[in-house]
């Protein structure tokens, strides 16, 4: 039972990362019907930028530690948001009317460019986040260890999701985003600036992804240039699990997938964990391609 509860805590922690990254995929897919393959690499980029920022800011010496961490989060999120908007401008906007597959190839190209750009700048070797970024406190509740970072990750993720849900459901821009996701042309006719909506989506997705990337760095500590594909694909599975294009779905999907991976790693085999994840994905696609909360996807044929 202790192992089970411990794996649940671990699963919720990983699930937080998946959910944050999955939201970036799902929002872009919802409005543009495009798998933004470069999103995972943006997440990797944010981990690298965060590491550089932290080393620089901590090197200054006069900023108190908690403020440094907050600053790292804010600046990284800002930088990645700018990258996200640039990515959309350069790689996706010119292809909005082109065949669907052209945009997919452009997304793959952007992904390769960012991933290998990271490798050229920071080298192919693993980089390590310092261990003393967050206090090494841990609590022991009923035989289960919860570290400070795990608690922080789960709480921050849930806060971000609540604010995103409020934003999407109760603001004018949120309504515009939902309208554009249903029908872009009709949204344009209603006077919605779809270009602006897409920009906002990339900003929000990138910010959430940046937080996810920093969490990956601080939790696992070792980062490599190709981590984007690993987390990107898992987050994408989470998005499909919940129903792609559906925002609450991605959150649920992220946590479910996190629990699933943690339990597989804990009880079955960690060497096969990835294979099990993808088998789960294929089974979902066969049995219920719409995901838990998603739309219809099979063709009428």
């Amino acid at each position: 039972m202790d192992i089970f509860l411990q794996q649940v805590v671990n699963g919720l922690t990983i699930g937080s990362i998946y959910a944050l990254v999955a939201l970036g995929y799902t929002m872009v897919y919802g409005v543009m019907k495009l798998i933004n393959f470069a999103h995972g690499d943006m997440v990797a980029l944010s981990a690298y930028i965060g590491l550089v920022l932290y080393t620089q800011l901590a090197g200054l010496g006069f900023i108190p530690q908690p403020l440094t961490v907050v600053l790292v989060f804010l600046i990284t999120a800002l930088v990645i948001a700018i990258f996200g908007v640039l990515l959309e401008r350069i790689a996706y906007r010119p292809l909005r009317t082109a065949p669907r597959l052209s945009a997919v190839v452009s997304a793959l190209g952007a992904s390769m460019m960012i991933q290998n750009g990271i490798m050229l700048v920071w080298g192919p070797n693993i980089l390590i986040f310092p261990a003393d970024i967050l206090p090494a406190i841990s609590w022991n509740v009923a035989g289960v260890t919860i570290t400070f970072i795990q608690a922080a990750m789960i709480i921050i993720t849930i806060l971000l999701m609540i604010s995103l849900t409020l934003f999407i459901n109760y603001t004018k821009m949120g309504t515009a985003i939902r309208a554009s996701a249903i029908n872009q042309d009709a949204a344009k006719l209603m006077g919605i600036n779809v270009n602006l909506v897409i920009m906002i989506i990339f900003v929000i997705g990138s910010i959430l992804g940046a937080v996810g990337g920093l969490f990956i760095g601080m939790y696992y500590r070792g980062i490599t240039f190709n981590l984007g594909w690993v987390y990107g694909l898992n987050a994408f599975i989470a998005a499909i699990l919940g129903g792609i294009g559906n925002i609450p779905g991605s959150m649920i999907g992220g946590y479910l997938l996190g629990l699933f991976t943690a339990l597989i790693a804990g009880y079955v085999s960690s060497a096969w964990a990835e294979a099990f994840t993808f088998i789960l994905l294929i089974l979902i696609l066969i049995v219920r391609p719409t995901g838990i909360l998603g739309e219809r996807v099979a063709e009428k044929v």
Binding site: P94, L101, S106
Partner: protein
């Protein structure tokens, strides 16, 4: 009879490939052998992606299956590589039928993700050394290709094997284009609903295209494992599938010159600019974005048959 411009192009291409070994440079002979093998794989991806219009981003699975069957039979069981020949076509084709049947009805992106998933499961299976056969992360070494007193992995021999495989594949595709199946695939891609309503089973032909593509890719895997006399999971991972996917779309769907040019750019150009080797994929990424913005239909978009003159002519 007046020959078409493209016929001259193909004749020139074949002549260059036939005479290429006279350059007598072992390094380039290896590079061009690899080019032939990868062209065959790219053309087999095109059967599924370009002709049947299904987003297949896991094709390295079938390529790897062919290569691994050869290596496992030869190294683990000591069977002559020649006897692996029928199996490398049939087994990937059966796998393709079994794997694609439940998913061919999925809409584009979902199919893409499902095929990616299959490729990753395959890669992990190889890495985890299934039943002690696949050799784990390092793969299998020492494929012995000694047949009738010849060693097939001599550079010149393997070059001609790869070249003939490419010729055969081109012939197969030419025949496919002119056959009932090829026309059916083209029609299904244009409008699945309309093709179903006149009695062309979209499901059957989609699975058929997967099986055909897998068989051809498996054969390419056979040549690959003989050329390198080794197989490893990295050669058939999901990144390889992404490259082939990109080759087909950057070159042009269902366009043979486009796909050959795409393969050339992805696999031969890096050998020429060897000093940029580490930055290779960085530049490919940029090139992929640019080529899609400038030519969203690919470098050489395929042209489908012209309407007869009496239809277009004003009366």
């Amino acid at each position: 009879m007046k020959l078409k411009k493209s016929t001259y192009g193909y004749l020139l291409f074949f002549a260059v490939l036939t005479l290429f070994p006279f350059i007598n440079d072992p390094k380039w002979l290896t590079v061009i052998t690899t080019f032939c093998i990868y062209s065959v794989v790219a053309l087999s991806v095109d059967i599924v992606l370009g002709r049947a219009g299904m987003f297949d981003m896991g094709h390295a699975l079938f390529f790897g299956l062919g290569a691994y069957i050869t290596a496992i039979m030869n190294v683990q069981f000591g069977i002559n590589v020649l006897y692996a020949l029928p199996l490398v076509v049939v087994v990937p084709a059966i796998f393709a039928i079994a794997l694609s049947s439940p998913i061919v009805h999925l809409r584009g992106d979902y199919l893409l993700v499902a095929t990616v998933g299959m490729n990753i499961v395959f890669e992990q299976t190889l890495k985890n050394n299934l039943f002690g056969l696949t050799g784990g992360p390092n793969g299998i070494f020492g494929v012995d290709s000694y047949v009738f007193g010849f060693s097939l992995d001599e550079p010149l021999t393997i070059y001609y094997i790869a070249f003939f495989l490419l010729l055969g594949t081109l012939l197969l595709i030419r025949n496919l284009e002119r056959s009932k199946a090829g026309r059916a695939l083209h029609y299904i891609q244009e409008d699945p609903l309309a093709s179903e309503s006149i009695g062309i089973s979209a499901r059957f032909y989609r699975v058929f295209s997967f099986a055909l593509g897998a068989g051809v890719a498996g054969l390419a895997g056979w040549v690959f494992s003989i050329q390198y006399s080794a197989v490893s999971p990295e050669a058939f991972n999901f990144m390889t599938s992404v490259l082939f996917f990109a080759i087909v779309l950057v070159g042009g769907k269902a366009s043979i010159p486009g796909i050959l040019a795409g393969t050339f750019i992805m696999f031969v150009l890096p050998e020429i600019f060897i000093e940029f080797a580490t930055a290779r994929y960085f530049f490919f990424g940029i090139a992929m974005i640019l080529s899609m913005i400038l030519r969203p239909e690919g470098m050489f978009p395929a042209k489908y048959g012209k309407l007869p003159k009496y239809v277009t002519e004003d009366k």
